[in-house]
């Protein structure tokens, strides 16, 4: 005799399961090799064909052969390092093979569990709202296949199981929310480091060469979002400090290795009240974090270097949120060490000779450092320099070519040329990269800083003043600093449409989308151990630990499950409505009041006869009601109007 676990599966259920798996695999197509996608789809399609035609499933040796060859091919194509992509590829392949031996309920359970696992791996690649909705739908679908296989009488179609599944999912949501909020979070990784995938991520890097920032100028990717505790500062003060570049090789600036020491013993003076704000930073797989010039106190788990870069202890692989405060008016680095100042004067020999000559000339004409700086800025302002997103290519002596030939550049060209001029003239200087500006989202009351806001400026060291920020781009294009990139560029530049000011409706739409994305980031993606604790503190728990969290989780989950049990089991109490019986009982009560009580042993016919004799005035009514009742109850009469007539007659009966 066959055990139920070994009974053949219903065909509709198999087709539905294959469909759900295909849909789950579709999310992985962009990062799986084409040949693997083709094999997996072919295997699933073959299983579908077998189900439709009742064909024989492939044998054991075919499966063993496929497993060996496929695994080898995957390992060869992904290389020896066992990465996330390798595991997803193997999972997809194994799933497609397991489907080939999908015969009985037992196999179906294995395949469906693997399917759930495949769904979750999708989130390793994308965690957008759209992905989440897609996966949510697939959970309903996959669960429906589980339900379809459990319909042992096969009385409903496999697609009707979708209703069962949707109901289950709807009832599961409250418990899911409780678990999500209160399940103690562990900050991973637990085993080994997940592979960093910085490929395709736009953002600042640790080098700056001509064209590296202007390439970001067209990206409307979000770099970070900012919540100000009070009114945000004016755009011209919004210099988001990032990597500081020290070393120049004639063409490319690099951060060098000098800026990793901490700020101990550094002196700064800050004037005025600090600005407090919270930054939600998108992962960029680098260590630096961004703060308005100039932050003085590092948030936990980060440190500030001696050139005031804010660095995380590890590369930022996940979206993080940190609270920080900055001062707009400050003075720092007055007592900078000599070797550092020496370093801020270094230039490569044999490059940009014309620029060096120009610097020497300016130095001779200027009476002070300040005057020299102004002279350079004036040169940018008054001579024919252009601010453009598409600067011409520059060759070996990039600064010479820019200053004397092309004269067209983006902020990195101006910053680089300015710092080279300063160093050549004997003023210690360095390039600071980061972002400038940002736009307020009126819908969410927060600021969005895009990759297109990437910027580079300069810092020079002046005696008695310390490090001072100078932005040569501001001299060329004041609008860039005061009103943003789009305002600074000629109208024919093809900026992403959402970033342009001349499409107000699109801009509004983009703001709404971003407000949604921001809440999503704050409450779903950025819900970390830290934020969990903050939520508990906000809820009034003074010093929450994971123990309190566990207790809270247990009690909340118990309460939620209790509520669910009440709602789900409540319907057990409901009995089918029996209006005929109700009418009859009412009739008996009415007669009892008139003195004719029905004996428990009396059937309706005998009772009605006796009651009619006892109450001759109502003789006809009693006979009619009893006859109708007997017809409805015992003669198989199920007409709704008849039942209604009985009820009306009993009501009228006095």
């Amino acid at each position: 005799m066959q055990k139920p676990e070994e009974l053949p599966l219903r065909r509709g259920g198999i087709i539905s399961l294959l469909g759900a798996l295909l849909a789950a695999l579709a999310a992985h197509v962009p990062h799986l090799p084409v040949w693997l996608c083709a094999i997996v789809v072919a295997l699933l399609a073959w299983r579908g064909y077998c189900a439709m035609r009742g064909a024989k499933l492939p044998g054991k040796w075919f499966l063993i052969g496929m497993t060996v060859m496929g695994t080898a091919a995957i390992l060869v194509s992904y290389g020896p390092r066992f990465s996330r992509d390798t595991s997803v590829a193997l999972l997809a392949f194994m799933l497609a093979l397991k489907v080939q031996e999908l015969r009985a309920l037992r196999d179906a359970s294995v395949v469906i569990c693997l399917g759930y696992f495949l769904l979750i791996t999708g989130f390793l690649y994308s965690q957008t709202i759209a992905t989440a909705l897609y996966m949510f739908a697939l959970v309903i679908w996959l669960t429906a296949t589980l339900a379809a296989f459990q319909d042992r009488t096969r009385s409903t179609s496999p697609f009707a199981a979708l209703r069962v599944s949707a109901l289950l999912v709807a009832q599961a949501v409250p418990l899911m929310i409780a678990l999500f909020l209160l399940f103690p979070r562990v900050q991973g990784p637990i085993f080994g480091f997940p592979q960093a995938t910085s490929a395709g991520v736009t953002g600042l890097s640790d080098t700056m060469s001509p064209g590296s920032l202007s390439s970001l100028g067209l990206s409307d990717d979000v770099a970070f979002r900012v919540h100000f505790n009070a009114a945000p500062p004016k755009p011209r003060n919004l210099y988001w400090r990032g990597p500081v570049m020290w070393d120049f090789d004639g063409r490319t600036w690099t951060i060098g290795g000098a800026s990793t020491t901490a700020t101990e013993g550094m002196h700064y003076q800050a004037d005025g009240p600090p600005i407090r704000y919270a930054v939600t930073l998108e992962p960029h797989y680098m260590r630096w974090m961004f703060a308005i010039d100039l932050p003085f106190v590092a948030p936990p788990d980060t440190h500030i270097t001696n050139d005031y870069q804010l660095l995380a202890s590890r590369p930022i692989r996940n979206r993080i949120r940190y609270e920080i405060s900055s001062n707009l008016a400050y003075r720092y680095g007055l007592d900078e060490k000599t070797e550092i100042l020496q370093r801020a004067l270094r230039l490569p020999t044999g490059y940009n000779e014309k620029t060096l000559a120009l610097a020497r000339e300016l130095r001779m004409r200027a009476s002070s450092d300040r005057e020299l700086i102004d002279a350079v800025l004036n040169r940018f302002r008054t001579e024919l320099f252009f601010y453009t997103l598409v600067p011409p290519e520059l060759g070996r002596d990039s600064v010479d070519e820019f200053l004397f030939v092309t004269r067209r550049g983006f902020c990195e060209h101006y910053a680089s040329a300015f710092v080279v001029l300063m160093r050549a003239a004997g003023i210690p200087a360095r390039v600071v990269t980061g972002y400038q500006g940002g736009e307020m989202n009126p819908l969410g009351d927060y600021m969005i800083v895009h990759q297109a806001d990437a910027h580079a400026w300069a810092e020079v060291w002046l005696k008695n003043e310390g490090w001072v920020r100078v932005d040569p781009t501001a001299a060329v294009s004041p609008a860039r600093i005061q009103a943003g990139l789009f305002a600074a560029l000629p109208a024919d530049y093809s900026l992403p449409i959402g970033m342009r000011n001349d499409f107000p409706m699109l801009r509004q739409l983009r703001f709404s989308m971003d407000a949604l994305a921001n809440s999503w980031n704050q409450w779903v993606l950025g819900y970390t151990a830290e934020r969990q604790m903050k939520l508990l503190r906000d809820a009034g728990l003074s010093t929450p630990t994971w123990q309190t969290l566990t207790v809270l989780l247990m009690t909340t989950a118990a309460a939620v499950i209790g509520m669910l049990a009440l709602t789900i089991l409540w319907r057990l109490r409901s009995r089918p409505r029996d209006s005929v019986g109700q009418s009859w009982r009412l009739f008996c009560r009415k007669l009892a009041r008139r003195g004719s009580e029905r004996a428990p042993s009396e059937g309706p016919r005998d009772f009605a006869r006796r009651a009619a004799q006892e109450q001759p005035a109502r003789h006809a009514q009693i006979e009619t009601i009893a006859a109708l009742y007997m017809k409805l109850r015992y003669a198989g009469e199920t007409e709704k109007p008849e039942a209604r007539r009985l009820r009306a007659l009993v009501r009228q009966f006095r």
């Binding site: 696992f117 589980l146 339900a147 289950l168 669910l564 089991l569 319907r571």
Partner: protein, 317 residues
């Protein structure tokens, strides 16, 4: 001592010892629920998913993991609800011959407004039958129990369970309905001619005169031998008539326990008598059955056959 204690614990914990009455309602106290193998696999998958989320800090992964776990939890409640408040009642059985399957109809009565899906019943034999019970209605499922020997076959303990909706948990209850089925002895096979009808007296002397003496016609009755039908009368267009012979009343067929050789094993004798009862009844003869404990007066027809077979089934060994 330990034995009785264990028995008591089994009684208290499993509540299976006492047979239930004709109808049983599956109350909360009678329903047990445990994960199935698929449920354990599901749990293991969730654990793996959770560890994956922690390792990769995938926040949406947590959402998915918790959603799927919650679906599992909700499905437990649904599994329980699918069985709760259901009533079971045993239907009437039809007697079978030893070696055949006895069919026990089990009525599943759903007094609530909830539809019940895929309710399973399993008897001693291990075979499972499934039924849906729509709201407020009654469904019936046939449990097949193989009968091994003659006598009264008890339905015994049956298990009613369900894996609905997802098969992750199994809710079950053990029910011992008071249902029986009569099992007739297996008839002997082979060539076993009926004994010759006797005069009906105890010594079994053959009455020579009689069976040829035509005594008249009477209306045909079901069970009358076709050899005695008055074919000529029928051919003349009259109703079907049976010829009566004077010897017939005297020559009643008696199937006697004592007439069988004492060397025969008891069960073989019972088997032989069963075969004779069937043969005699099928040929429409009037016969009596004389057993050590009971005497069934000569008669014919289905009811008489049933009485005889039941007497044989219940004969003390």
């Amino acid at each position: 001592m330990i034995g009785t204690l264990r028995g008591r614990i089994a009684k208290a914990v499993l509540r299976v010892a006492r047979p239930d009455a004709g109808s049983v309602t599956l109350t909360q106290r009678r329903i047990y629920i445990l994960p199935t193998a698929a449920g354990l696999l599901f749990g293991a998958t969730l654990l793996a998913m959770l560890i994956g989320c922690m390792n990769y800090n995938v926040s949406l992964g947590y959402v998915l993991t918790f959603l799927v776990s919650s679906i599992g939890v909700v499905s437990i409640l649904h599994t329980f609800r699918n069985l709760a408040q259901l009533q079971l009642r045993a239907g009437r059985t039809v007697a079978v011959f030893a070696g055949e399957h006895a069919l026990f109809p089990i009525l599943l009565i759903n007094p609530t407004r909830l539809s019940r899906k895929s309710i399973a019943l399993r008897g001693r034999a291990g075979e499972e039958v499934y039924a849906d019970v729509p709201d407020g209605q009654t469904a019936s499922a046939l449990l097949r129990i193989p009968s091994e020997r003659r006598g009264i076959l008890q339905l015994g303990r049956i298990r009613v369970f369900t894996l609905f909706p997802l098969g992750l948990t199994r809710a079950w209850s053990n029910v011992e309905l008071d249902a029986t089925c009569v099992v007739y002895p297996a008839p002997e096979s082979g060539v076993v001619p009926l004994p010759t009808p006797s005069g009906g007296n105890a010594d079994g002397a053959y009455s020579a005169q009689g069976s040829d003496d035509f005594a008249g016609l009477r209306k045909y009755q079901i069970g009358d031998s076709l050899r005695h039908v008055a074919w000529k009368a029928l051919a003349r267009g009259q109703v079907v008539l049976t010829k009566q012979f004077s010897g017939m009343a005297a020559g009643t067929l008696w199937l006697e326990w004592d007439a069988l050789s004492a060397d025969m094993p008891i069960e073989a004798r019972i088997s032989r008598l069963t075969r004779w009862v069937l043969d005699a009844s099928h040929s429409g003869q009037t016969f009596g059955l004389r057993l050590p404990a009971a005497v069934l007066a000569p008669a014919a027809g289905a009811a008489h056959e049933e009485h005889c077979l039941t007497a044989l089934a219940l004969l003390e060994p």
